[in-house]
Amino acid sequence: MTDTTDLDGIIADLREREAFPERGGDLSFDAPWQARAFATVVTLYRQGFFEWNEFQARLIEAIKSAEQADDTDAEEVYYRHWLEAAEDLLSDQGVVVGDELERRVREFESGERDASEFVVGVDHAHTHTHSHDHDHNH
């Protein structure tokens, strides 16, 4: 697996910055997967997979169908809706086909796949941001 991302590291930084919300971007993620879900969806939008209001409509649907008058784990609940909205929209668009995505979710749940797909290993943790050259196999 050659695709890596340093999202998890970014989140660690972000959470430190939350002590100064007025200075930074004020991102209020509670866990790396929430940032991952956020960034994936915004990237899909930027790459033209959908109009923003198409995603918005799905998000409203997801929230409506599950609303509870409870704000425990507000971020987790919110980004679960966010995932649901993205999955549903991509499925309707035919980007996600059949049970391909569900199978993959199960593989991550069972540990068959793991976060090493994303997290840069300790041995080259310091090379991931600006020196990609030697990581590429042609």
Partner: protein, 215 residues
Amino acid sequence: MSHDRTPDENRNGHPVPRDADPQARARALQSYLIEKELLTTDQIDEVMSLYEDEIGPRNGARVVARAWTDADYRERLLEDGSVAIDEAFGYTGPEGTDIVVVENTDDVHNVVVCTLCSCYPWPVLGLPPTWYKSPPYRSKIVRSPRRTLREEFGVNIDDDVEIRVRDTSAEVRYMVLPRRPVGTDGMSESDLAALVTRDSMIGVDRPGDEHVEEL
């Protein structure tokens, strides 16, 4: 595997069951799109760093400071928020179309909520804080705005000031133009921008009631 279910039993028409572990779902979605070469990690990282470094309430503060010091700009901003913001500062993007700027005055206090979900003017304020997205805020601020501002945010709005609750919708994003604090005559635009808080642009803070020395 412990997840023996008939395919549609838990999915109810959704491609992934709602009760699946969200971390696995987020990882699956990202890795799926990358393996299909629909997205790249660089594109995703770019979004993260944009929202980390460039898109946040400092943007809105600059817009407010400009409106405080330039009457023509203030007028354009109140007339068509998105256009005035994009033209002068280039802040645009998702959640950035149809930004409507509403002005606080001595007699009117505006406060913003999204009762449907979490609509929020990202290009000028960044992503919404957790409380903005929470069901309690979304219902309480509509039901009893004056009390919610007092009890949850410590902001006392005089009884003779009208409170307008602006319900952001799928079509419109509101941003509050707060009043300029007293005692700031002659301050530079950038010094003024430093006085503008995120909360004042949502309307859960009212610094215009204060003298600058008290802020």
